[in-house]
Amino acid sequence: MSESQKKYAVETMALTKKFKDKAAVNQLNMKVEEGAIYGFIGRNGAGKSTTLKMLCGLAGATSGEIRLYGKPLHTPYMSQRIGSLIESAGLYPNMSARQNMIMKAKCLGLTDNGANSPENTIDKLLSVTGLSNTGNKKAGFFSMGMKQRLGIALALLGNPDLLILDEPINGLDPEGIHEIRQLLLRLNEEGKTLIISSHILGELSRISTHYGIIKDGMLVEQISQENLEQKCKSYFQIEVDDTKHALPLITEHAPDIRTEVYDNHTLRLYDLKEGAWLNQLLVEHHIQVYSSGFHHMDLEEYFLNKMDGTAPAQNNANRTDTVLE
């Protein structure tokens, strides 16, 4: 699909948020396709929550523009297409889970509509999030995991098209994480777009279709799952005394192999099925080989590489485009 044909649920144009002179979010150009699960990754204080707050209208932008489904954020009724859970679940601690849901339903103006009455929807959402049996227990006495579940149920009320979830699995037990993961995948199958920020990268990598990596308020990279997989694909890493001599030799003997100079002593070779011949070749040409072997990067390793600024400097001829597809 070409860039012009793509429909975006969220687009930000040079979005900037400054606190006094410090930019928490700096010239952010983010594009989230409709129907995507967008994993939003960054260190603490990188600007994730501030960005998500701006998308929800909880924080004002210093400059830049936000468009949701092609329209400005403050278009009437646009906000009703968003369901959000930002930082922690927003709830009234002196009310039960059901009463909190009724409050949100009234806030959204949900009206009785036969089978889809607010009461039925609330029952269904409480059941889906495992809160059916909480009775009259006040939300203030809920465990952190239960509060998160209620926060997710509140975000889902009103059947929003776009779900913005900041650390949704915080405090959940493994069973809860599994349930929420299945729920999010099901919602995505129904056509909802999800933006999820989480520090649990392993979990994020299990559901995300796209990723956005933010560092010091700037979007370092947007990448699709396919491209990420391509980049993280198994590679053959070889440590030699001098890459300047090794690289031309390898390129000469194996022109189809994508190579990458990781540092002065390390080379990474992609699409290589076996590496014994390469070791032999280098040794025959008097290049010292310190170590060699196959590696596979996961999202965490990729993310850490990006954060440390040690992202691979790829061979220009074979460079993969990192723009979101």
Binding site: C56, L58, S79, G90, L91, P93, M103, K106, C107
Partner: protein, 270 residues
């Protein structure tokens, strides 16, 4: 905005602080009525002597005071019990402070603002809720006073036109005061500051202090345009168009505090 109002009314109906504050106001009304009954009615005075609260000699000396009480009507009694001294405004302010700050404390504000991006709606909804609650409290408290008076025959009934006139401006002034508390809560997001503001402004402590300072420079005239002054010294009966000034003062303050609160909320991040 009306969805927000529906939500606020649903919540205030379930808010314990409303019932607690109403019970406190009712208890004070009962206490005041009992004291009036003891001093005002022959049966009450006999009961007071029997209870040992004062002797027959004290009773004879109290005749002058009793004469003062005899000039009071039901509206005067109602005003003296809680309205004029600032007790009612302070109590209403505390309820409103607890109500508004709960949105910030629990974080539900995030859900509200995500669904209603126009933050003026939030402030106006809170003001309307305060107005409705204020109306109910004033009417119920006055009805309770009437009931007590019917039971104990303490003071004569006031002309209904005067009662309606008083109730109307008392509602406007106290709702304007509620808008001040809403503004304090939105700006500070602190329940402590909200309650402190309700007590200090509602009881007139701030106005009295400022009045004292400004009067040193012969600048004390401004106090008659304050909410506290008007609540305490406002007219009990309509005697001319000049008495309508109190409505203007109430509405101006209401609009001013609502605008300040909305402006601050628009500038704040949630």
């Amino acid at each position: 905005m009306f969805n927000l109002l529906r939500m606020d009314l649903y919540r205030i109906k379930r808010s314990q602080s409303v019932y607690v504050c109403f019970a406190i106001l009712l208890s004070l009304t009962v206490l005041a009525c009992w004291l009036v009954w003891l001093m005002e009615t022959p049966q009450g005075r006999q009961s007071a002597v029997r209870l040992g609260m004062f002797s027959l000699e004290d009773l004879a000396e109290m005749n002058v005071e009793v004469d003062i009480l005899q000039n009071m009507d039901i509206l005067g009694m109602f005003r003296n019990i809680g309205m004029d001294g600032g007790l009612y405004c302070s109590t209403l302010g505390i309820v409103i402070a607890l109500f508004v700050c709960m949105d910030f404390q629990g974080g539900f504000m995030k859900n509200i603002i995500t669904s209603h991006q126009n933050r003026w709606h939030y402030v106006v909804s809170k003001l309307l809720t305060a107005g409705i609650l204020n109306f109910l409290l004033i009417v119920l408290l006055f009805a309770f006073c009437l009931l007590m008076n019917l039971l104990f025959h303490m003071v004569p009934l006031t002309d209904w036109n005067n009662i309606l006139f008083y109730m109307a401006w008392a509602w406007v002034i106290s709702t304007a005061f509620a808008s001040l508390v809403i503004a304090i809560c939105i700006i500070t997001r602190s329940v402590t500051m909200g309650i402190l503001g309700a007590i200090l402004f509602g009881s007139g402590i701030i106005v009295t202090l400022l009045s004292y300072v400004t009067s040193l420079f012969h600048l004390g005239q401004w106090t008659k345009y304050t909410l506290y002054y008007n609540m305490t010294y406002g007219p009990s009966s309509y005697s001319g168009t000049g008495d309508l000034q109190i409505f203007v003062i109430g509405f101006v303050f209401m609009a001013l505090y609502t605008a300040i609160a909305s402006f601050c909320l628009t500038k704040q991040d949630i």
